[in-house]
């Protein structure tokens, strides 16, 4: 069964600093997603990573995927307060009992302060 683990679970950052959130998954997954969730709100899709070595960037966020290491990272550059939210990674298997469903990590609560 596919399991997804994120770390850290809580991240307190100063504005202007850089940091990385890690997402490990237990079995083969052919795609990896990153979502953002603001308090009381739904999930906003950030990135979809489909192949080994994939790197995508949007603003101060950059996501990458290493399928051999079963690892995805979300790198935050020069954090600003607006990035404060909970970030989830999710993996998806091609078959078996996990077929069609996203398995989510626990989420990383990011707080950016002055």
């Amino acid at each position: 069964e596919l399991k997804v683990e994120q770390n850290p679970l809580f991240l307190s950052m100063q504005e202007g600093k850089n940091y990385t959130i890690y997402c490990n998954y237990s079995t083969t997954s052919d795609r990896l997603y990153w979502y953002r969730q603001d308090p009381g709100k739904s999930l906003e899709s950030l990135f979809v990573l489909l192949s080994n070595g994939a790197v995508k960037q949007e603003g101060r966020l950059m996501a990458s995927l290493d399928t051999k290491a079963r690892l995805s990272t979300l790198h935050i550059t020069a954090a600003v307060h607006d990035l404060s939210a909970t970030y989830f990674c999710a993996a998806c298997n091609a078959g078996g009992t996990s077929y069609g469903k996203l398995t989510f990590g626990q989420g990383t609560i990011l707080t950016v302060h002055p």
Binding site: Y33, S42, L43, S45, C92, G100, K101, F104, G105
Partner: protein
Amino acid sequence: EAGVTQSPTHLIKTRGQQATLRCSPISGHTSVYWYQQALGLGLQFLLWYDEGEERNRGNFPPRFSGRQFPNYSSELNVNALELEDSALYLCASSLEDRAEAFFGQGTRLTVV
């Protein structure tokens, strides 16, 4: 273009009652997914419907059920509500199975 819409936004029910949650996918999307986000338990997969059929089901008891209509909208029914069913229920849709999923704003179910 309208995103995934869910109704109602909030729902308060008494233990033992039934709850019905509704979801309209993005136009053209045939796959609909339901997830439960309960406090302290993270996001748990509930159900996946595609082309009117249930394709996969998470580790939830049978009192969680649903269906998908010919217009691809979906309903989630929860029977014999328990206090632990209190959660945010999120619906998502995708163009095809395993494509990028877009989430609705959720229905917050409170069981008292």
